[in-house]
């Protein structure tokens, strides 16, 4: 089976079969990263450009490692080193990159829809590594892979996503993916963090973390962006930590075998207590490990690979 898409722009566009194909492929790539010589020649001669117009450590490194372990040539461009500082538009920069004939362009951008703009213009495969508050499909895929590996299934599980849903691309991609795979998704946060009509995305809405995580199989905590305090999205970090943070007390409401997830980077002691982040229920670092495998799978499938 092969992925017939040119680009990966969002989870919304993926079918159940496509998600399973990506996750199955990713599982087969896990082993490569455990070898002594962590490299296979699969993408030898392919060029991958990582165009990161917004700060990122985890995702950019993960894509770079994924490309290198498949023997592709990877080039990183960040906003501060790109020609946008000279006033070049995204479209002009992309056309110039296209002229150098890469095979895949991975893009992270603060504006929703930026990868879609490139996908329409360029013949290369575009992978969305996070666009504004829209989608972060590779994060959702690695989250689904982690859940599937740990729980053996996704369908029927109760997944609670807690935090600033309105500004979260991770939340949107996970909502699309998890609901499509048959999970029951609950979102929670103060009303200021829940975008209008979010329930139409097929989720249950709560305004208290306790209500959201009761009986949950998975609790996914979102990073609180501290600059949102100025926009009156929440009154103070202190209040947020007290009423919406995941801690040793409220986690007891979840199932005994609950998995705690977080896309990172975490704010220790704010949305998640340190002992929970480091505790036995936490799979935060396994998410990161799986991220490399998921990205290897995508690079492989989008450049024509098949399983």
């Amino acid at each position: 089976m092969r992925l017939t898409k040119k680009d990966l722009l969002g989870i919304k566009d993926l079918t159940v079969d496509e998600i399973n194909l990506i996750l199955d492929t990713a599982e087969s790539f896990i082993e490569v990263s455990t070898r002594e010589i962590k490299k296979v020649p699969t993408l030898r001669g392919k060029t991958i450009i990582n165009l990161f117009m917004e700060p990122s450590t985890r995702t950019r490194t993960s894509f770079e490692i994924a490309g290198k372990r498949l023997s592709a040539d990877t080039i990183n461009i960040s906003a501060s080193t790109s020609s946008v500082v000279k006033g070049e538009t995204l479209i002009d920069m992309a056309r110039n990159l296209e002229a150098m004939n890469p095979d895949v362009i991975v893009i992270r951008h603060s504006a929703s829809g930026a990868p879609h703009l490139l996908a329409k213009l360029l013949r290369q495969s575009i992978i969305n590594a996070g666009d504004g508050a829209h989608e972060h499909p590779t994060q959702a895929l690695l989250d689904m892979m982690t859940i599937r590996t740990k729980k053996g299934r996704i369908a029927g599980l109760k997944v609670s996503i807690v935090g600033d849903i309105a500004h979260s691309r991770v939340a949107r991609s996970n909502i699309y993916g998890l609901t499509r795979m048959g999970a029951q998704v609950t979102v929670a946060g103060p009303a200021t963090m829940l975008p209008r009509f979010i329930e139409r995305m097929g989720v249950t809405v709560h305004h208290r973390i306790e209500d959201a995580i009761r009986g949950a199989d998975i609790v996914m905590m979102l990073r609180i962006q501290t600059e949102r305090e100025q926009q009156n999205i929440f009154p103070s970090l202190r209040e947020y930590a007290k009423y919406f943070g995941l801690n040793r007390k409220n986690i007891r409401l979840a199932k005994d075998d609950v998995l705690v997830m977080h896309p990172g980077p975490i704010n220790r002691g704010i949305e998640i207590a340190p002992d929970i982040a480091d505790g036995p229920a936490s799979v935060i670092l396994e998410q990161v490990t799986n991220g490399v495998a998921v990205r290897m799978a995508l690079l492989y499938l989008l450049t024509g690979g098949r399983t």
Partner: protein, 434 residues
């Protein structure tokens, strides 16, 4: 020079008439509106046969020249988007014989020399009437009143800080009072900048899915409510620009029922498109106020039908590709409209929302009355501004054929029925369908 228009159906809501009747134009004025002027032609022509031009307009409709009371001509300052010349060419091609242009140029039209220069240039273009709308506040910064008397004397017909709202309620109060003493209308762009801050599209389910920051309908409604209350207090008239929400329609309907002197306009995109048009991050569907939900579109159409909304204006907002071909967040707000307004508005007639008479009221007679400018009528003695519509002409919007310098439209490729085939300004044919 005399012009005889014969055989057409004449629709003039100012009289009102709707019948097959001939119109005789002499020296730029309508001198006779009567049946069968054509048949008595030999006598009339006997006086000066060579100077009479007869147009056979059977199958066509003659209406008072369309007036667009909300246009952005971009000159001075943004001539790469539009000039007075290209804007007037687009207007006449779209069937407009007059337009009022908003002051958000560079420099802002907040003084008599800018107003005067626009009028002079428009006169040189010699296509359609151009009526400048001057700024309410100096540089449209919302702090200090512009020189209303001086602007009026220079030829401005109304005041507005369009593009920017007047956030200071006290300034709006003074503007309404001062303008009323000059017998000049004030046009309000209703938007609370705190509520709309950062927004790039309607706050609704589509914005939620796309992760784009929303502009809530209430950002428009709180300001419409405020301005209606101020107008009630001062006892003066206010015109609400580009109504986009069901809530604003309701506020205006209630205000009119209480006999507050409020008038309102909407634009074709607000009764035609919803925020679903933004789905594929189409920058040509990015406009301020934003395209709203389906219930808003229904309310706008009902507001047009029941008379709550007096005017259809284009809010023609040309932008070059360089303003638009960027990330959605960074793209400029606005769409061109002069060459699609009539076609889209005729769909309201086809849909049974408005009669043709009511439509022409909203696109000609009402804007003339609100701005207190000539036109909007085909009465004997009136200026001979007329639009000839072919109601059966089927055409497809092709932005590459626009006379406007810009082509930022979400309606490219749309099928239309009904079109302006001739635009007559002051008795002269300024546009004729090729």
């Amino acid at each position: 020079m005399r012009l005889l228009l014969r055989g057409a159906r004449v629709v003039d809501p100012s009289q009102p008439i709707d019948e097959k009747i001939d119109i005789l134009v002499e020296n730029g004025k309508i001198v006779r509106v009567a049946k069968n002027i054509y048949k008595s032609r030999t006598q009339t022509e006997a006086d000066a046969p060579s100077t009479l031009k007869t147009l056979d307009l059977r199958g066509k409709i003659i209406v008072p020249g369309l007036i667009d009371m909300h246009t952005h001509l971009r000159e001075p300052g943004f001539e790469y988007r539009e000039t007075i010349q290209t804007g007037c060419e687009a207007a006449t091609a779209g069937g407009f014989t007059a337009l009022a242009c908003m002051p958000n140029t560079n420099p802002v039209n907040d003084n008599h020399s800018v107003t005067g220069s626009i009028i002079r240039k428009a006169r040189e273009c010699n296509l359609c009437h151009v009526y400048p709308i001057a700024a309410i506040s100096r540089k449209s910064e919302g702090a200090a009143l512009a020189e209303f008397w001086d602007l009026k004397d220079a030829g401005a017909v109304a005041f507005s800080d369009d593009g920017k709202p007047v956030m200071n309620a006290a300034l709006m109060r003074r503007a309404l009072e001062y303008a009323a003493s000059l017998d000049m209308p004030v046009i309000s762009h209703c938007e609370d900048l705190h509520l709309s801050a950062g927004g790039v599209m309607n706050e609704g389910f589509v914005a939620t899915e796309l992760g784009l920051l929303g502009i809530p309908g209430v950002a428009e409604e709180v300001m419409a409510a405020r301005d209606i209350l101020i107008a009630e207090f001062t006892g003066t008239a206010i015109h609400i620009a580009h109504v986009s929400t069901a809530g604003t329609v309701r506020l205006i309907r209630e205000a009119k029922a209480r006999e507050i002197r409020v008038t309102a306009e909407t634009a074709p995109h607000y009764f035609t498109l919803t925020d679903e048009a933004v789905r594929e991050f189409d920058v040509n569907a990015k406009v301020n106020p934003p395209l709203r939900g389906i219930e808003d579109v229904a309310a706008i159409r009902e507001g047009l039908r029941d008379g709550t909304i007096d005017v259809i204006a284009s809010d023609h907002a040309p932008h070059a590709m360089t303003d638009k071909d960027v990330e959605f967040d960074d793209a400029a707000f606005g769409m061109v409209g002069l060459e699609t307004s009539l076609g889209l508005s005729l769909k309201l007639v086809a849909d049974g929302i408005l009669t043709l008479d009511q439509l022409i009221m909203k696109m000609s007679t009402a804007p003339a009355r609100i701005l207190k400018i000539p036109g909007g009528t085909l009465k004997t003695g009136a200026v001979a501004d007329m639009t000839v519509i072919d109601p059966d002409a089927e055409w497809t919007v092709d932005r590459s054929c626009f006379r406007s310098k810009s082509c930022n439209t979400p309606f490219h490729g749309w099928d239309m029925k009904g079109k302006a085939v001739m635009t007559i300004v002051g008795g002269e044919i300024k546009y004729q369908e090729p």
